[in-house]
Structure formats: C-alpha cells, structure tokens
Symmetry: D2
Subunit: 303 residues, 4 copies
C-alpha cells in the first residue's frame, strides 16, 4: 500500500536506477562536482543521458571527509530532488574536501523514498554508494540477513538492495582487518559480489545484477563496474584522472588529463565536455589512492 | 543566493511551467484524476507531453470540497514530487469529492520551492490555480501590491506571480458581491487579467503573458486559456464533458462523452485516450456549474 | 552515527514514548479529535500531561476508513511535528470517518525519525498503533524476524519495536482466519503479546515492556493496556463511551457519557474536561464494535 | 486557514519566541555550540530555560563562513525540529568555522513554518538573526515595505517581522557604504531599530517590541539586546569571552574566561555551566571583531 508505482507500474519507467560521482584528490569545492559542470550531478538528476529514463528525482545524498577533524565521513541526505534543494547548493558552495561522494536516486519500483534509502551509506571510516540493481533481491533478502553478524545486521536502517550489499561488505572488511587497506578493501568488495551472486544462485534467481559501486575510507577507494548480463547492458561508468578538476567562469575541466597525478573522478556520466573521460571496462575494478589510480583489476564473472 | 538555477541557468529548461487538472460534477475519487488514468496528473509530473520540458517535480497541490461539512475547500500541498508522495496516494485512494483541483509545479527560475508557492490558493470558499507566466512580473510586483486591499495583501504568503494574480482577483470578487455568482466570478477573472495587463503596459513590459487558470467556489467554476502571445504559443488546455469519469481495471474514460450532463474535466493535457478531449480555444473562457458547461466566452486580447 | 541522542543521551528525556487517540462510531470530523478539544492530540504533541516528558514532536500519523470506497484504511504520516502541519489541519477539517486512529511520536533513543516509523501501521483492512516500549527489543529482534512468514517479514519498512510487534500480529491474524472477527482479533493480539514475552524470556531480557495498543479492521477494534512492570508504572489509557462526541464553539464533550451507544474514544489522555473519561484497568483488553463496547477482558501477566 | 494556532490560540503558548547562539573567533566545530554543550542550542530547542515556554520546534537555521572560499556565508535551514535532524548533526560534526550563527524557532501565531522564515537571513557578505517580536508588525508592514529600495524589497522571501527588519537594515548598510565597517554596521543596526520604532509610532502601535539580534559580515559583528518594554521583560542574552571554547569528554567550557582574546559567544542562554557567562545589559549593543569585544554601547530607548 506504500507506493503507487506498485499499483500503476505502467506509468513508470521500467529500468529505474541512479547516477553517482566520486572524487578523490586535492581539496575541491563540492560544488565543482555537483552544481557547476555543464553535466553536473544535479544536471543528471533531471537530464541523465546514458539511461533510457533521464529522471533521478527520488532523493539524493552527499558524503565528504574532513580528515583534520574526523576519520568518519559526514553525509547529507534528502528525499527532495537534488535540483531544487537550497541546502545542498549552499553547503556545496563553501565546503571543500579531498574525498567526496554524491548520488542521485531513482527509486526502484516498490521501494520507499526515505532518507534511510539514500546513498552513500557509512560505517566507521567507510562510505559506500551503488548504482544498479541486484537481480531477485527480494528473494535472497532473508538469507542475506541471516548471514550477517549482529553488528552489520543492526546497521541496516532502510530497505534497499544497496544497503544490504554494504552490510555484507562491512562483515567482509571486519574479517580482513589484518590485511593492508588496499587488499582489504578490494578483496572485500570482490568477496561481497561473489557472496551475493552465490545467494542468487542458491535461490535460483534468473534476473541479472548490475553493480556499479564505490567504497572508500577517505584515502583509498575501490570502484567497480560489474554485471552478470551482456557487457553492453552494463551501466555506464567513467574515469577521469589528472592534476586538478577546475571550474572557471562556468567551464569545468580536468587539468593535465590522463596524467596520473592528484585528482581522480569516477562518475556514472562525464561531468563536462573535456577529453579526459574514459569508460571503465565492464567487469573491472579501479583502485585509487590519494588522487592517483593505483591499480586496475579484471573481475571474472564466472569465477 | 537562494536557488542554484539563478546561477546556472543554462542547466535548466527555459520555459518551465506547470500542469493542472480540474473536476466538477458527481462525486469521484480523487485518484480517478491524479493516479489512475494512463496520463494522470502524476504521470504528467514526470512525463508531460505538450511542453518542451516533461518535468514538473517542484512540488504539487491538491484542493477539494466536502460541502456537507464546509463551504471552504481543503488543500494538501508538498514540496516533494507528486510521483513519490505516499500521503497523496493514500488520500486520493479513499477521498471522494464533487469538486477537485490538482496542480504539479515546475518552479520558474529564481522562485522558491515552498508549500506557500504551491497551487491551489484559497480564499474563503474560493480556490484558484494557474499554469503559465505573467510576463515581467518582477517589474510590476510592487505596483501590483500597492493596488491591493489590506485583506488581499495579507493573504499573500509566497512569491509566485500566480498568488499575486489571485490577490487581485480576491479584491475583484469582493467588489462584485452584489452580482450573481456566474457574473461575479467570470467578470472578476476577466477584470483581473485586464488589470494585470494594464500594469504590464504601464511598466512597459514586453514579455508575453500566459494565463491558463481555474477559479471555483466548489459549485461554479470559470476556466480561462489566455495569452498575449501568438495563439499557437498558448499553453494547452482541454475540456471533457459527459456523464461520469470512470476508471475500471486501469482504463479510464468519460461515459457519454460530449453530453453536457454531470461531469466536467478541464486539464492541461488529456488524462486518457478516450475521444472526448476537446481543446479549449485560445483566449476564451468556460463557465461550469454543477457538472455542466454553462457558457463559453471569447476574450478580446485587445480590449 | 545517525542520531545525536545516541551520543548525548543526557540531553534527552529517558522515558520517551508517544500518545494516541482512537475513535469508532458515528461519523465525526477528524478535527474533533485532533485539533478542536482543549487537550486534543495536537495539544498532547507539545503538552502531554501524564508523562514525565511533555513533548511528542518526532512525527505523527493518522489513519481513517471510508467504507463506502474501500475496506482498507488510508494513512497520512509526516516526520514534522503535528502542531505545525498545515496539511494535517486541512485534512482534519473536512474529512469525516467512522473509524479514526491518530498518533504523535516521541522517538525512542537511537531510532530514526522517518515516515516508515510513524504509526498507524496497516495490513490489508487492519490498522494498528502502539504507545510504549518492548523491553530489550534490540536483543530479540533477529529471533523475532526469523519467526515471521515471508509476507509479514516483507511488510516491515521501518525499525520500530511497534512495527515488528504488528508483523507478528499479522501472522497470528492469518492463522486464525476461520474464527469470527471478535475472537480472531482479540486472541491474535493476546497471542502476539505472549509471543513477544516468550521471546524476551528466551533471550533473558530483564527490562519491562509497556504495551498500550489498538488494532482495528474499521468495524471492530481491540485495545490493550498492558505492562510487565508494576501496575502503577503502566502508561495511561482512557475510555469514553456515549452517543456522540461533539465540538461546539471550542468546547468538546461526549453526549450521554457512559451510555454504551454509538461512540467510543480510547485515548492516552482525556481529550476534554467532560466527566466520561474512565481509566482502562492495567492488564486488560477492551473490545469495541460499531461504536459500542462489546467486551472487557483481563490479561493475566503470568499466563 | 493556514495555521491551526490562529484558530485554537488557547492551545498555544502566548509568548512564543526563539533562541540563538553566535560565535566569532578561532575556528571551532559547529557541533561545539549546537550539539555538545549540556545546554546546547539543540537542547534549547526542546528545553529552553529562560522563557515561559520551553519549546522551539518550528524549524531551525545555521549560518557559517569559510573565508578561504567565499566572503558570503552559507546557510542550512529546515522546517523540522533541530533535535532530530540528522543532517544538522552530521554537518556540525565535521565542519569548522570562525564565525557561526545558529537559531531555533518557535513560530509566532499565524506565521508559517517555512524555510524562508528560518533565520539567519543573508545579504551579500552579511548574515542576520533575531529573537523577539516587533510589536504590531502586521500594522506597520505595508508602510515598511513601501520604504524599501527595490533591491531590499526583492530580497524578502518570507513573512517574518525579522526578515522585514533585515530588509531595512540592508538599505541602511548600503547608504553607509563609505563608513568603516565598525561604524557602518553598528549605526545601521541602530538606525534600523529607530526606523521601525518610528513606523510603530506613526501607526499608533501600543504593543512593545523585543529585539535581540546579531548582524555580522563574518569578521565584525554587532549584537543588540533591546526592548521598548520594562527592562525586566527583555529577552535574555549572554556574552562569554575568552581564549577558546572547548568541548572535551562531554564537558564544554570557555578557556580563560573573561580574557578578551580570541573567542566570543553571544547566546540567548548560557550553553554550559562554566562561570564566564555574563548577561548583556538591556538596551545595549556589543561590537565584536575577530574574536574580541571591541565596544559596548548603550541604546537610549527615548532617543
């Protein structure tokens, strides 16, 4: 009874997903990512290009770090559309950070528009966001919950597949606490995908999964572009590296694009028309550290 | 500083307006207008067809009458998009009324998304909603306010051209309190348009105005489709009359369309694919009473 | 990290609960319960008398039936305080119903203020609301969830003890679908309390539980006032029966109080100063049908 | 029809006002003012001590400067109560500033709860907040508006007396743009009070005014405690100066209180139990610069 889309499904786009942008590197104003570029994340909230449905108006979320004060990120979330939220505009205008996550949401059918369903999700020093869909999630959900530690179980406040995915990821990170951060984060993310795929197999789920995601601790980040579907059906994901991402007089671009230096953007869609936007290969992972790409890994979907 | 669109105007559609639907006649569930039809008002909130920009996600409003209890309409307004508001869905599902107004908003540049800017506006037994734009409104606003009675002045809570228009209309209605309702409402609406046009002339405004609007007291209603621009530039407005508007198994239609009987819908866009939707001529007014069209009047833009 | 109260517990009242009002009988305006009485539910939202802490400002919810249109109730919920919600005022002013539930919330420590945590909760034709606290809920939660059917499990959208209690109740109702409604609803509610108490015992929970609750299908209702604590620690709950509850010129009262006729109010606190408000005995249940009290049952806490 | 308090005035506290806190000095986390102290501004939002009515739950606002990025302050406003807003908690936890304004609101009767009515208000580099009440505001409002420049007139988005007061103040600041900032800000604030008092006199207003307010440009600030009523009726306002305001293990205090060094707090109520809180004399003004009190001026109410 909670959501009219459940009852009037024909009125609503079938493949409703999300868009996100991640930044790691020298400090930049949050607005340089989400309000100023021609195709900023706010622009993507009503005008996404690389999906059938251009609208991502079911809430948004922002995460950012200020390491001088805390290891833990802050988040700002709202159920209103990003494009008309004046608090978001204000905050973005004068807040700088070395690590920023931003996400605009298109609620999947039947799911609630609620702050607790807005990305990024956080756990201790970690922040996580996801764009995509775990196939057959409603069928694997109870088994997934049973598999969690009490701590990860109690972290879950909402009902998205993404937050449940992140709960497994928390347990995987905790298990690997003797590894260095690079290995810990990348292998935990890989193990989480595998675990979810195994749950789908065990419940005979036939629907495909689409997992574009970023996990960060504010210094290191791992991003993944993954699908069980044909590669051409994967959600888009772009990488841009260089010295600095700069907005001047309304034109934004990466300085020294391609140089693996001090600024990394990973984004569902390119934010601007400069040449440095590179499509991340399907079923691969990118590891970022302090503004530089450290590693690129291939994911074998038939592991 | 209040709205990012002011600063990033290129990101946002130029001609941002609204969509509305009005019903008068036998009692129907509110959902029959705003959730159930294929092209319901909620569908128009993300998928409007007859405008360059399909999105009306900057809040919405609903007005309805229950004459057994009160002469005054109730309104329900929210700054969140209509398409994901569960309260709207719930209320619409079990509330019936003989007179319903519903409006989805696309905020004009620089204007705030606020409940006080959501239509319909009310005054005593009257309710009013508008889709369009008063050309050069910011330049005529102070003169307009000066012309108001204290009562009408104090009614204004928001910043839209529409609410200011309605404030003049309140004064015009009060002036004509000896006329019968038909003449009172139609000539007050006409006089208000003229007054606003005169204000524009006196301030040498060159921008065109677009005024599609409905005024009702719950029994009688006057609707207008007006522009100072070329007729082909007018916003769309449709009329559907018949015996009853019915939704059954997801298909909605007017029973006995064209028969001037017991149900009138006036809507920015047709709600359904049945044949009875007739375009209201540009620069004309329709007068409705208890579910029947009483009168059709032409407006001379060069009065 | 989600709620400052978790971190600054000394700033916040220890025993934070809620207030509710239920009506069943001849149609009355919703406002007659929640806005017009001297000690209306809106008044209780900032000025509750029978608790240490007068404030219930963490959202509210309303449920009501319109049997002419649907067996299922509608709900209206918001995270803003009841006392300043203009939509609530408007809706209450012109909506009549024969069965109304209204609830103002004071969030328990660590719990989110979210629409999904606002009462009443609904399932098919049933609506349910709770004022109180299940002792040690966080420790019994996983076992409780495991015990649920898939259907009841999937209904849960939020994180309150109340909604989890109602999930068990849904399963108990489904199990008893061959009983008549009176027995079905009363014994299901009783069984749910017992089941929760058994879960607490099995997990060695020592904290007391406080369960004031109402379950209704729109025609029949069962209300319970229960605690495992000393009877004098139970939350307050009042009953008022008569011919009609009427508000005139700002004074509200039950006509023919004490006559078991056509109007029943069950409320955390008396709404008005008239004499008919009777305290419901601790550890007892009241069964209401179409505006009359059918039955009063004692609950043996040591069953 | 907009606000139930207008209709049920007996239900609501007569003297409903607000509480605010201002900080200027070395960078501190926003949370050190609004969440961490025993009697933080969030605590005052439900537990104000120095007013008849403890509740300030009708929205809040925050303003802060980051001079490395912009001369203009950012604001964060919400209509929900401060005590349960998780975005406010998050933002406060990791944002530092040298100049912070925070305000919790109790809406005056008949006034809307809307973001546009939340303090602080901003204009270019200035921010302003007010706690109190301009007597007879509704009667002087039109004259006040007529007296404004177009620029100041167009800034007004809401309906509070406070924002209208600030509009006059904007014009006064603009008039004095050749003065140094100290004189410019203090004499503009003084002139605004006088202008409003003259408007009240000219409209034969008998109600008293209560104006506790802060105006800042991020470096300099002027604060005023003023009333036309008996001095003992003035709203409370406190000053605390010292080296640094520090919160450690849940205990907050001013280091080196009384030393006019690097940190100034001006607050409706003391935030903590340390000894440095000094009551600002009624009808006086305090001028602050970069964390030091520069000047204390007396206001002659019979000027």
């Amino acid at each position: 009874m909670d959501n009219w889309r459940t009852f009037y499904p024909n009125n609503y786009p079938k493949q409703a997903m999300c868009r996100f942008t991640f930044y790691q590197g020298r400090p930049i104003r949050i607005g340089s990512l989400i309000t100023e570029p021609d195709h900023s994340l706010i622009n993507q909230s009503f005008n996404a290009q690389e999906r059938d449905e251009p609208l991502n108006g079911d809430g948004f979320g922002l995460g950012w770090y200020n390491h001088q004060i805390s290891d833990e990120p802050a988040t700002f979330k709202s159920v209103t559309p990003a494009w008309n939220n004046r608090n978001l505009l204000q905050l973005s205008r004068i807040t700088e950070s070395t690590c920023i996550l931003a996400h605009v949401r298109a609620a999947t059918q039947g799911l609630q528009v609620a702050e607790s369903n807005c990305h990024p999700f956080t756990f201790k020093q970690y922040a996580f966001m996801h764009n995509g869909d775990i196939g057959g999630f409603s069928r694997i959900r109870r088994k997934l919950l049973e598999s969690l530690s009490d701590e990860a179980f109690n972290q879950i406040k909402g009902s998205t597949d993404s937050e449940h995915f992140f709960a497994i990821l928390q347990d995987e990170l905790t298990k690997r606490d003797t590894l260095d951060m690079h290995d810990r984060m990348s292998s935990s993310l890989m193990a989480t995908i595998r675990k979810v795929m195994n749950l789908c197999t065990s419940m005979q789920v036939n629907e495909h999964s689409y997992i574009n995601a970023v996990l960060t601790n504010g210094h290191l980040a791992v991003a993944v572009r993954f699908t069980t579907d044909q590669p051409e059906e994967a959600d888009s994901l772009y990488l841009n590296i260089g010295r600095k991402y700069v907005c001047e007089e309304g034109v934004c671009s990466m300085i020294d694009p391609g140089e693996n230096e001090k600024a990394v953007i990973i984004s569902s869609e390119p934010l601007s028309n400069d040449p440095g936007w590179e499509s991340i290969p399907v079923n691969s992972m990118v590891v970022v550290n302090e503004g530089r790409v450290l590693d690129r890994l291939t994911i074998d979907p038939d592991w």
